[in-house]
């Protein structure tokens, strides 16, 4: 029974993947047409809305000791290069 449901899940995934390809394509077209750079996931702050274009020192933009205060900021990890630079300080 469980295995049958699992097989059904995989079948649904493969059907869904094919059906979703069209909407992904439409989204990619919109990205190309409007020159968009980011996903619209966290709209609470400018640097979480456009993660890839945010200032490099964003979490400290309000002062050197200011801590990240937007909840989604804790989901987005800093780029690897920055983590390496600050490795010894952190």
């Amino acid at each position: 029974m469980n295995i049958m449901l699992l097989a059904l899940m995989f079948t649904d995934a493969s059907v869904g993947e094919r059906a979703g390809a069209a909407s992904l394509r439409a989204n990619a077209d919109l990205v190309g047409k409007l020159d968009l750079t980011d996903l619209c996931l966290f709209t609470e702050a400018s640097y979480t809305r456009h993660l890839s274009l945010a200032d490099l020192h964003t979490p400290f933009q309000n002062g050197p000791m200011s801590l990240e205060h937007f909840p989604s900021g804790s989901l987005a990890i800093p780029p690897a290069a920055i983590r390496k630079v600050n490795g010894k300080v952190d």
């Binding site: 469980n2 295995i3 449901l5 699992l6 899940m9 995989f10 649904d12 995934a13 493969s14 869904g16 993947e17 059906a19 979703g20 390809a21 909407s23 992904l24 439409a26 989204n27 990619a28 077209d29 919109l30 990205v31 190309g32 409007l34 020159d35 968009l36 750079t37 980011d38 996903l39 619209c40 996931l41 966290f42 709209t43 609470e44 702050a45 400018s46 979480t48 809305r49 456009h50 993660l51 890839s52 274009l53 200032d55 490099l56 020192h57 937007f70 909840p71 989604s72 900021g73 804790s74 989901l75 987005a76 990890i77 780029p79 690897a80």
Partner: protein
């Protein structure tokens, strides 16, 4: 072989009936076990889908974005920066993007306003994303009030809305004409927000970025690779708050499972003693315990995985929404495209099924190798 299968069948029959005798206790364990697998599998499915989708959607993003930096902050960029970039060998096009953020005090949401080059969009008209239309309860033909940088209030009429299928990239988007954008934000003519560069050969992207940095020293270059890498890392489940929360749940479950699996109850000890006394061998008892562990962990694993599938792909990961949404008023509604990764599912399988099954065998082996008389006492 047939005899071996028959033996296993009888053992499984016995194990299942033994499990049913303690059904309340085992049902509680299966429920908690399933919940842990459900949460972990939900994270795995969600992360996998987000990574796949962001890569598929952002593959057409500009190859290079050039921002002007002043005192470490990005500033509007003069249009005169456009020409030197266009002349770099390998650049196929450069477009000045005009975009910005607008805080709507009526609903407390942040919008992204962007200039559209769509010739059908007349001044005074806007095209809004699904999220804007939803939170402001507006549709084509309605107007939205905006306060300009001078404090003047202007009404812009919605020409149409972007399809809800594109919510993942356009939920908070408002497309305006250049004239309205400059009027709203006061960005002077001859300035843009940043430059979007398309490059003919993807392998030349770093070289073009280096050349642009040399020509325009006060700019910062963001390559498409960096954009894609950002989204690949954003939901890296090792770095997320979800896993920190889940680690507590995992540890609690670990203690529960270890306690349940490693310490046999007196009833279970007596059962093993009786089985030994009536002639069962140690290997039979171990096999029975093995099947018991397998039955519980496999059932929990399968149910947890399937519930996670329904949660992520049918309910749009509703449980994670409060975490992802944060304080934002506007959160896109989207249905994720299923993307199952066999490797990650097998890792989850080996991390959840194998330890529990092994943990059930060790105490059973201890009890089964003792004298039946001692065990029954």
């Amino acid at each position: 072989m047939e005899k071996w299968i028959e033996r296993q069948r009888h053992l499984i029959d016995f194990t299942l009936s033994s499990l049913f005798r303690r059904k309340r206790k085992n049902a509680a364990l299966v429920f908690v076990y399933m919940l842990v697998v459900f949460l972990l599998a939900s994270v795995v499915f969600f992360v996998q889908s987000m990574k796949t989708e962001s890569a598929a959607i952002l593959k057409d993003a500009p190859d290079l974005i050039i921002q002007r930096m002043v005192a470490g902050r990005y500033e509007i960029i003069p249009m005169s920066y456009l020409e030197p970039v266009r002349l770099i060998r390998g650049v196929s096009s450069v477009r000045a993007r005009l975009w910005g953020y607008y805080y709507d005090p009526v609903v407390g949401a942040n919008y992204t306003l962007m200039v559209s080059e769509n010739p059908d969009l007349a001044p005074g008209k806007i095209i809004v994303g699904e999220g804007v239309s939803r939170v402001r309860l507006v549709n084509a033909g309605d107007t939205i009030e905006f306060r300009t940088h001078t404090g003047e209030v202007i009404d812009l009429e919605i020409q149409n809305t972007l399809s809800s299928e594109s919510a993942m990239v356009s939920s908070d988007l408002i497309l305006v004409t250049e004239q309205d954008f400059r009027r709203l934000f006061g960005v002077p003519i001859g300035f843009a927000t940043d430059l979007a560069v398309r490059i003919r050969n993807p392998r030349e992207m770093p070289t073009v970025a280096l050349k642009a940095a040399g020509l325009l020293p006060d700019t910062r270059q963001v390559l498409k690779d960096e954009i894609l890498r950002t989204y690949d890392a954003v939901f890296d489940w090792r770095g997320g708050i979800l896993v920190i929360i889940l680690s507590g749940v995992l540890m609690a479950f670990g203690i529960l499972a270890w306690d349940k699996a490693s310490g046999l109850s007196s009833e279970e000890r007596r059962e093993i003693g009786i089985l030994k006394a009536i002639g069962w061998e140690t290997s039979d008892v171990l096999l029975m315990k093995f099947w018991e562990g397998m039955a519980i962990s496999l059932a929990s694993f399968f149910m947890g995985v399937m519930l996670a599938y329904v949660h992520v792909y049918f309910a749009s990961a509703a449980l994670f929404e409060p975490v992802l949404k944060g304080w934002s008023v506007l959160y896109p509604r989207f249905r994720m495209v299923p993307s199952l990764d066999f490797f990650e599912l097998s890792v989850l399988f080996f991390l959840s099924v194998v330890p529990y099954t092994v943990a059930t065998i060790i105490p059973a082996w201890k009890a089964a190798t003792s004298d039946p008389d001692t065990v029954m006492r």
